[in-house]
């Protein structure tokens, strides 16, 4: 019962704010929403300390409504509600005096409730409820300022692109049901322990589930929605990117690790897609001029890292990166939000610069976030990224190619992270604003997130040092045997990735302070700004043909309607013409009578 409460508390907030939010005075909806998420967090902590929980209610025949809080889902629950709570608090300040204040928090609570459903589900259909729920919530939040058509379009784009992935999810569920007659994750886990019944079909199911994850986590080729999702208010971006929706794909893979551990080919595919996405996101981040879009592309790239880790079989490492990423990505977004707030809505980094002396606290948030993203040694991002790099070599589905690719992306990551920081905070001022520091209600969440960005990595340190996370998560994940490197090799790799990160950061720091750039970089930046024309290719190949088809059908439809309408119109006109004879004028009748008689007589004569 307590387990259900974790979901019901934010859902209660959604209901209350949705019904009575308009009548509450300004900070109250935000405080209420934040408090409910915090309560959910505390209940989750209590349940986790008492050793997990399980709930099963009869629901649809054969598919019970089952929730499970084990180490894995408990871990995710803490990230979602913990980071979610901080973002809620931040939003109290950020959304102040917005006409949709209470509506915003109602959606926010709904988002958290659905994400918790997703995370706690012990059967795929229940997970799917949460899956669709966060899709709906993201649609509502991305299009929160719905009067702007472009924003509303972004919301629809996110929703529609996600539908493609959801179809994969559903088909995957259907195959699993056909194979095993159950969709309960625990039961499937048991069923898969023996020899596999139908490996090729199972691989297809795994691929289809992965397609769902690709949509939700914005992997290549379904990544186009995520940069556009920046249309929503900044706390929304932070919530979607850091703690909730986009990590759902990674969580799905980790939850289904019992399945993927048996499917080396599918795992390999996941790792390849992850690496491609990591590279694509990193390269696209260079050309962006919107402060939030740089961070958005870094999310795509970091999610690629997570999938790379999950693909090679290092599921706990993927979740470790989810964990550290939640802190520094939320921090980066909320710091961006503070900058936007300080500049009165300005989002173009070309008009920023020189904010170092104006924002004495936010500048540190931005610096810590960028350095953690760039993987500065000893910050959280370094430890988790290094764990991924090592995992590509030690886990069975990995390989040297993955390692080198990921290492290259690590340099790029460090460089664009510094680009973001340099353009916003350093150099001379390029805008004509009067920046002002954010209020405490927005600063305090950032202090805590900055603390997390520094410390989160110490939960799982490499080999001889203590690693708390791996033994905590291992029992709930599939066993994939990693071969251990010698101590020297392992620390050699760590030193290498540390050096790579430092070089990348240094390059980024010096390169982007230049006034003029070499021509090759300018060309590259132009490509990068358009994110390598992915949107245009999609528009040319899919969107426009479909639009043309829709318009052709529309014209066909109107033509058909016009035909029917024309027929009806003719009959009506005829009727009106005949009705006009019915004038009531006696002499007209008489005339007609006479004419009629004449005709009759003529006919008879003839």
């Amino acid at each position: 019962m307590w387990l259900l409460l974790t979901i019901l508390l934010p859902l209660l907030g959604f209901a209350l704010l949705g019904l009575f939010g308009k009548r509450m005075r300004e900070p109250l909806p935000g405080v209420l929403a934040s408090a409910l998420v915090l309560a959910s967090f505390l209940v989750g902590v209590g349940l986790l300390l008492s050793g997990g929980a399980r709930l099963e209610v009869g629901w649809l025949p054969g598919i019970p409504f089952s929730l499970l809080l084990d180490n894995l889902s408990g871990f995710m629950l803490l990230i979602v509600t913990g980071v979610g709570f901080l973002i809620h608090v931040y939003a109290i300040g950020y959304m102040a005096e917005d006409p949709g204040y209470s509506r915003f928090f109602a959606y926010f609570n709904f988002f958290i409730a659905m994400m918790l459903t997703l995370v706690l589900a012990d059967s795929y259909p229940v997970m799917f409820i949460g899956w669709e729920g966060v899709g709906l919530a993201s649609f509502l939040l991305i299009g929160f300022w719905y009067k702007n058509t472009q924003y509303a379009d972004s919301a629809r784009k996110a929703f529609i692109v996600n539908r493609i992935g959801d179809l994969g999810f559903m088909l995957g569920m259907a195959i699993l049901w056909a194979l095993y007659g159950t969709l309960s994750i625990s039961e499937l886990q048991e069923a898969l322990e023996g020899p596999l019944k139908n490996p090729s079909l199972l691989a297809l199911a795994g691929l289809l589930l992965f397609l769902g994850a690709v949509g939700k986590s914005a992997q290549v080729p379904l990544m186009v929605w995520l940069p556009d999702a920046m249309a929503g208010p900044t706390p929304v971006s932070a919530l979607i990117h850091a703690a909730t929706m986009v990590t759902a794909g990674v969580y799905l893979i980790a939850r289904s690790s019992f399945l993927y551990a048996n499917l080396p080919d599918v795992s390999y595919t996941i790792a390849v897609i992850g690496l491609i996405t990591a590279l694509y996101g990193a390269l696209s981040a260079f050309g962006q001029t919107d402060i939030k879009k740089i961070v958005a592309y870094s999310t795509i790239s970091q999610l690629g890292y997570m999938f790379l880790a999950a693909g090679v079989g290092a599921y706990w490492v993927a979740l470790f990166h989810v964990f550290t990423h939640a802190f520094f990505k939320a921090l980066l977004f909320l710091a961006s939000g503070s900058v936007i707030h300080a500049l009165g809505g300005e989002q173009d980094v070309r008009k920023m610069g020189g904010l170092w002396k104006h924002l004495p606290l936010t500048r540190w948030h931005g610096l810590i976030g960028a350095l953690a993203l760039g993987g500065l040694p000893l910050l959280s991002g370094f430890w988790s990224k290094d764990a991924i790099l090592t995992a590509t070599l030690t886990y069975p589905f990995g390989g040297l190619g993955f390692y080198l690719g990921a290492l290259f992306v690590a340099i790029l990551t460090a460089m664009y992270a510094m680009r973001w920081f340099v353009l916003v905070f350093l150099g001379e001022e390029r805008g004509h604003h009067h920046p002002h520091e954010a209020p405490p209600v927005m600063l305090w969440p950032n202090h805590l997130l900055a603390l997390g960005s520094v410390l989160a990595g110490y939960l799982a340190l490499p080999h001889p040092l203590p690693n708390l996370l791996e033994p905590f998560l291992k029992p709930t994940l599939a066993e994939v045997e990693a071969h251990h490197l010698s101590l020297g090799a392992e620390w050699g790799l760590i030193a290498l990735s540390g050096v790579v990160a430092l070089v990348g950061l240094w390059l980024g720091y010096t390169f982007f302070q230049r006034r003029t750039f070499p021509t090759w970089y300018v060309t590259f930046e132009a490509w990068s700004r358009e994110s390598f024309y992915a949107d245009r290719v999609y528009n040319a190949l899919l969107v426009n043909p479909l639009k043309a088809l829709a318009e052709a059908l529309f014209y066909g439809d109107t033509g058909l309607l016009r035909g029917y309408f024309g027929l009806g119109g003719t009959v009506r006109n005829l009727g009106q013409g005949i009705a006009r004879l019915q004038t009531g004028y006696l002499r007209v009748y008489a005339l007609l009578f006479v004419l009629g008689v004449l005709v009759l007589l003529g006919v008879m004569r003839w």
Partner: protein
């Protein structure tokens, strides 16, 4: 034959009168004209083929008288009601 011609002429005049006159009284008179044209042709036929036509003519006269009695009554009633006997004003039954 000339009776029939006269009758036809008379009838056509009557039709013309019915179609062109606006006043109910004159329409009435025109109708009388048409009835008389019919009577004339009946009498003319009676001359040629036997006396039955005369009977029919008497019948027509009787009916015409009755019709005039009723019709004039109606016209008077309508006139009292509307202060007009123009048939074009009577295009609707509404009082």
């Amino acid at each position: 034959m000339s009776y029939l011609f006269a009758s036809a002429l008379l009838f056509a005049l009557g039709v013309y009168g019915v179609l062109t006159r606006r006043t109910a009284i004159l329409v009435f008179l025109s109708i009388e004209l048409m009835l008389n044209a019919a009577n004339l042709s009946l009498v003319g036929f009676a001359r040629a083929f036997g006396l039955e036509g005369q009977v029919a003519a008497l019948m027509v006269i009787a009916i015409a008288a009755a019709e005039v009695a009723v019709g004039l009554g109606l016209i008077v009633a309508i006139f009292r009601h509307r202060e007009s006997t123009a048939v074009d004003d009577l295009s609707e039954l509404r009082g």
